[in-house]
């Protein structure tokens, strides 16, 4: 079997695992509500539950993207252009939020603005601003990851040459003629991805806003009533209309991003690794607040897990104890213990890894090989592998749930591994996006040289390809584990009516318990702290192996 056959096999497996559940879900929704696209779209404004959701989604995603760029570009500039003591640590802290599960971020920001924090949530303007800032916090690392390598490894001769030309004598001239053309593809690609993630944001919207719905959170809330023949047909129409709008907008964004990423990779000059950078004392005014911005919600979360509310007659006081942690790790009649949730989360993460890593790798290899002979077809498959990004995690959860109903509901609901299907669907595109740039960056001459040395295909794979891709494989592994452990949207839809509680679902369940139990909030924060520490450990391990300027996104 040659690599082309393996690639075709991977495309088939990916189609069955990722596309078929979505297709089954859409097919069932259409079977119930009928095929009428105009009616689906109109149903969004016709029904109270979905009114204004699209506008709100679009507005918050656009403002979040602008805010992320405004905050992120100066930070990327400082990190890329100047020398910083412990720059590895600073870069790690600033890019860490992206691997944090969204529910952890939601809990962190919630505690900053709710009664136990600054108590500013009651005002609509403040929670909207908080949502935007939380999205910026979450996506900041995308701007840094995309822009910083371009700045940090640019050959100094490029700037020196520009200084000597009339067009580059002034600072504005250099910005216009050197930096903007050089950074535009990276900034635009980061903006596209930020827009996609903000557009499909679920946990942050669910917990920070007061009743306002995005398309994603609205679909999640009505999803459990969908797919039942003759029951609440309007909800099927709303989901179809929302999915169609979401799919179109996200696919367009991802297509632009794919084109830009390709352009950006061919544009990146292969500069020397030994560039001597200058120090910039005034840059601390940007870097220090950025570090505080990155760590504050997480520190708040840990502190809040030890802070227990005690309500007395007419007054509320807070005490410090480990009661929240004890409550989280003890099972109750309504909730399993955090140990059970941890077991499920680890199990699903390892299952997702076992499938997503080889599958994503094979897909990436297939695309990389195809780019050399059929670039247009390769671009199509590149986009094809990103489809799960365009349908959002909640829609993936609905796909798995409705797919289960369609095939054999009883069997799938009794299968512990069922939620892992959703995790595979979500993590595989990330594996492709990490491995593909690494594969592209390997000069084909390495393989050709090994062939002339008489080294067989299998030996070349293990002795040359795997070691050369080692860093990216490790990043993909750790990223898959982190994404799966923190996955919330799809799991929330799939596991809502089952016993397969994961850590993020447990956090959500604890926070959803009525407020009269004073231990639920600290217990939710305790579980969120556990999840945060796992993500942090995984992230630190990733950073150690990250290849410099691999052109990857994550």
């Amino acid at each position: 079997m040659n690599s082309r056959h393996l690639g075709i096999l991977a495309v088939c497996a990916y189609t069955i695992l990722v596309i078929v559940p979505l297709w089954l879900a859409i097919d069932r929704l259409i079977w119930i509500s009928g095929f009428d696209i105009v009616n689906w779209i109109q149903s969004l404004e016709r029904n109270f539950v979905s009114q204004g959701a699209f506008e709100f989604t679009l507005i918050q995603a656009t403002i979040s993207t602008i805010a992320t760029l405004v905050i992120g570009i100066p930070i990327a500039w400082q990190l890329g252009r100047y020398k910083w003591p412990h720059d590895y640590l600073i870069r790690s802290i600033l890019t860490m939020p992206f691997v944090m599960p969204s529910i952890v971020a939601a809990m962190g920001f919630l505690h900053l603005i709710s009664e136990s924090g600054l108590d500013i949530r009651s005002n609509k303007d403040t929670w909207f601003a908080t949502l935007i800032i939380a999205h910026a916090w979450f996506n900041l690392s995308l701007v840094i990851r995309f822009c910083e390598p371009v700045l940090s490894t640019l050959d100094p001769k490029m700037e020196e040459q520009m200084l000597l030309l009339p067009a580059g004598r002034t600072k504005i001239g250099r910005i216009r003629n050197l930096w903007i053309p050089l950074l535009t593809p990276s900034i635009a690609a980061a903006a596209c991805m930020t827009f996609v993630f903000s557009f499909t944001s679920f946990a942050l919207v669910k917990w920070i806003t007061l009743g306002e719905n995005t398309l994603e959170s609205m679909m999640a809330s009505i999803g459990s009533s969908a797919g039942i023949n003759g029951y609440m047909i309007s909800k099927n129409e709303i989901i179809l209309g929302s999915s169609l709008i979401q799919f179109t907008i996200l696919l367009l964004s991802l297509w632009i991003m794919s084109v830009l990423q390709h352009k950006r990779q061919s544009r990146l000059p292969k500069a020397s690794e030994s560039i001597v950078k200058m120090k910039n004392k005034s840059g601390w005014f940007i870097v220090v607040p950025a570090i505080l911005f990155a760590i504050t919600p997480l520190i708040t979360l840990i502190i809040s897990s030890f802070r227990v509310r005690e309500s007395g007659p007419g007054s509320t006081t807070y005490s410090w104890s480990t009661a929240g942690w004890e409550y989280a790790f003890t099972s109750t009649s309504s909730l399993p213990s955090a140990w059970d949730a941890l077991f499920n989360s680890v199990g699903y993460a390892l299952t997702a890894l076992a499938i997503a890593l080889p599958l994503g790798w094979m897909l990436a290899q297939f695309i990389c090989d195809l780019e050399k002979v059929r670039p247009r077809l390769a671009r199509f498959f590149d986009l094809f592998t990103m489809l799960p990004f365009a349908v959002s995690s909640v829609m993936i959860g609905l796909g798995v749930m409705l797919g289960m109903i369609r095939i054999d509901a009883e069997f799938f609901y009794s299968l512990w591994l069922t939620p892992a299907i959703a995790h595979v669907m979500i993590t595989t595109p990330f594996v492709v996006r990490i491995i593909l740039p690494a594969l592209r960056s390997i000069d084909p001459v390495y393989d050709e040289c090994a062939r002339t040395l008489g080294i067989s295909k299998v030996k070349r794979f293990f002795k040359i390809k795997v070691p050369m891709l080692r860093g990216s494989i490790l990043i993909a592994t750790i990223f898959t584990l982190a994404m799966s452990m923190g996955e919330f949207g799809a799991s929330w839809v799939v596991t809502r009516n089952s016993d397969w509680t994961t850590l993020p679902i447990m956090i959500d369940s604890l926070r959803s318990i009525p407020y009269n139990n004073s231990l639920t909030a600290p217990a939710a924060n305790a579980v969120a702290s556990v999840l945060m520490l796992i993500a942090l450990i995984l992230f630190i391990s990733t950073e150690k192996f990250r290849p410099r300027r691999d052109g990857g996104m994550f």
């Binding site: 001459v445 062939r451 040395l453 008489g454 080294i455 067989s456 040359i464 070691p467 050369m468």
Partner: protein, 196 residues
């Protein structure tokens, strides 16, 4: 030994057509021609990295025209030394032969003590010597050299040129060198073929 009969290859234009070559044991032939005339493609076709449009390649009496590169037994030295950055010098040499005597091999290319050196610390000349040693450790029937000295300065290039020639002659290894430099071709090879 190596016989190329009527080799032809075209991309957008005809690169070479009806190219013939007979190489005897221990013989060194140089092929010269201007940049872009298809010299490198010719070598890539001979070692199996590119497919021929027409022609036949026979090595030791066996038709290898459709044999894959890794089974042809033809080694190649690329324009820039291709050394694997995840391996040290010894690791790179062991790709040529797992059971070789590393110390003796390094002594032969005048790089004694380089066993554990990292690849990025080698100069261009040192890298090319390691690449040559590794190619010969694989015991090829023929060695192809694709302008391996062109990126080096003249003094170093001359030194390597005579060292490599002596090395190949000592092992009685036949070789084909392609270069755009006629002087290099004359210094290195027993005979020179020009293509346009």
């Amino acid at each position: 030994m190596l016989s190329c009969k009527g080799l032809g290859k075209s991309f957008d234009k005809v690169l070479f057509d009806d190219f013939n070559l007979d190489l005897q044991s221990g013989e060194i032939v140089a092929i010269t021609g201007p940049s872009g005339c298809g010299k490198t493609t010719l070598l890539r076709c001979i070692c199996g990295l590119e497919e021929l449009d027409e022609g036949q390649i026979i090595l030791d009496g066996k038709d290898i025209t459709n044999t894959i590169a890794e089974e042809r037994g033809i080694g190649m030295i690329f324009q820039k030394p291709v050394l694997y950055p995840h391996l040290d010098v010894e690791g790179n040499l062991r790709l040529g032969s797992r059971d070789c005597d590393i110390t003796a091999t390094l002594a032969e290319v005048e790089l004694t003590g380089f066993e554990s050196r990292r690849i990025e610390t080698l100069s261009g000349g040192e890298g090319q010597r390691i690449a040559l040693a590794r190619a010969l450790l694989a015991n090829p029937s023929v060695l192809l050299l694709d302008e391996p000295f062109s990126s080096l300065d003249e003094e170093l290039s001359d030194k390597l040129l005579s060292d490599v020639r002596e090395f190949l002659k000592r092992r009685n290894c036949p070789a084909v060198l392609v270069t755009h430099n006629l002087d290099v071709a004359k210094k290195f090879a027993d005979s020179v073929i020009s293509i346009k």
